[in-house]
Amino acid sequence: MSAYNYAFLDENTKKEIRRKTLKAIAIPGYQVPFGSREMPIARGWGTGGLQVTLSVIGKQDILKVIDQGNDDSVNACNLRDLISSTSEVATTTDTLEATIIQTRHRIPEEKMQAHQILVFQVPMPEVLRTVEPSEQETRRMHGERDYSRLWVQLYEDIVQHGEIRISYDYPVLVNGHYICDPSPIPRFDVPKLHQAETLFLFGAGREKRIYAIPPHTDVVPLQFEDYPFTVESYDQGCEKCGCTTSYLEESFDRVDGARHYYCSDTSFCGKKQVEQGELVQMGANWHG
């Protein structure tokens, strides 16, 4: 891939993104604007995460890319191929082996460590957008921590439906100051952000924002004293590996229409099955 600069982006772009990323880490939860570049994939398909990954990656890194927990989806494969061929890094599907994981809307089941970085793809970084359309106004609201309108929305949810209905994009208070959007991860993954060992970087390419949750940072989902935050729970475990503590996805059998539940994190599920002596091809790739 010598026709391209190392890691696809030119050096000035990488420098800018690294500086913006450092600023984001210094102000946990604060959305830092950056000059999002044109990428070889469409905006809204992970360009933010991609740019962050490409600007922090080095030849010694080991890359994993997941799309809603899945290593083998078209999007994950294409992003992984692009990153690995332009930055000459090894790839893996094993969460514990990777040093950089780029993810779309999931946090892996296995606990990540201090030497790892998790890069999120974020479609809508502005958590206040649902209550306030003006960017100028939302920035003022963040600056003054004027979050009452977001709270009123949660209150109205409880009044009308008896619970807070937000199932993904659940607003979290980071380090006691900014409320931010943890990207559309399910509620199930939100507690993993709290006091983690790992650095979390968030890139929104279309909206041109980078933000971060550094390791050992308090991340608290918004909740009322009498309506505490809850995560998804299931009556059963995964039908492939039997795990009862993972986030499950509902899937329908295309022949008889029966409903099944499987782990959303495919590499984790595969590992469990191998432990149980089943024959699973780890990291099966759709194009070999």
């Binding site: 600056g143 003054e144 921590r145 004027d146 009452s148 309108r149 709270w151 009123v152 209150y155 109205e156 409880i158 009044v159 009308q160 909740q223 009322f224 004293e225 009498d226 309506y227």
Partner: protein, 277 residues
């Protein structure tokens, strides 16, 4: 500090301003636009005090600067110059206009309530009546749904709004009901100061009487200090102890309400009193 609040030399202008602005505007000239630079002097040289539990009236014709004055007191508008002290905030030592915007917001959320002439300004019509009251409580840091709802029920009962309509949108309420929801919202966390800007304008007479009764009752029961802005002398007479008369952005006369009603000194006040129907 004996006063609940005091305001000193408050000025609000719209425009770039020039040295002649203050000299060439005001009641003596009968205008509030500077003839040299075209700046609007909405209010200037305004100093006033409100004592605890007192109701102060501000009366004047449209464009006399009375609404601008309360808006600057509620930090809706940034004043051009002036000082504002509130006894309930750090014993009235700091000038509130020098505080950071976050502290101003704190003062506004914890120490003040505002009722606007137009309910659209004070309420979020796409949130329920209870949600509107909740907003004020959430701003002040109450994150318990049960206690928020308890307080909302109390307030709506006090303001005569059926509890069954608590979770309905104020968009579908009548004007008088919207105004009462607005009063409930303003009162939600028992602020020591309530600002009322033309609260009864645009309501029909029986509803007006109803809202005025409510305000009087709140004042009597809770001893809140209030600033009541109106162009209507009958509202001022009914609610206030002391009155300030404004014209062209300046205070032209102030004193006890009865005194001003019976024995107006300034020609403009005499005109106002005489034009009472």
């Amino acid at each position: 500090m004996d006063e609940m609040l005091s305001v000193r030399q408050l000025m609000k202008t719209y425009g770039k301003g020039c040295p002649a602005c203050l000299d060439l505007t005001g009641p003596d000239h009968g205008r509030n636009m500077c003839p040299v630079c075209g700046t609007i002097v909405a209010c200037a040289d305004v100093s006033l005090d409100v004592y605890p539990g007192e109701v102060l009236g501000i009366v004047g014709e449209s464009g006399s600067g009375k609404s601008t004055l309360v808006k600057t007191l509620y930090f809706d508008e940034e004043p051009t110059a002036g000082e504002f002290y509130l006894r309930s905030y750090e014993d009235g030592v700091p000038n509130l206009y020098d505080l950071s915007s976050r502290k101003k917001r704190w003062v506004r959320n914890h120490q003040m309530g505002m009722v606007y002439q137009n309910p659209h300004l004070g309420l979020r019509l796409d949130h329920s009546a209870g949600g509107n009251i909740a907003e004020k409580l959430l701003m002040a840091g109450n994150y318990h749904v049960g206690s928020i709802r308890e307080r909302a029920v109390q307030l709506l009962e006090k303001t005569d709004i059926p509890i069954t309509r608590m979770d309905d949108l104020p968009r579908y309420f009548s004007g008088g009901m919207q105004q009462r929801v607005q009063i409930s919202k303003a009162m939600a966390n028992n602020p020591p100061l309530l600002l009322l800007d033309e609260v009864t304008t645009g309501l029909d007479v029986s509803v007006q009487a109803n809202v005025l009764d409510l305000i009087r009752e709140i004042q009597r029961e809770l001893g809140v200090s209030m600033i009541v802005v109106s162009h209507d002398f009958s509202v001022i007479r009914m609610l206030t102890n002391r009155t300030i008369v404004m014209k062209n952005g300046r205070i032209v006369e102030q004193g006890l309400t009865d005194q001003i009603m019976e024995d107006p000194q300034h020609a403009y006040t005499q005109l106002l009193i005489n034009s009472l129907l």
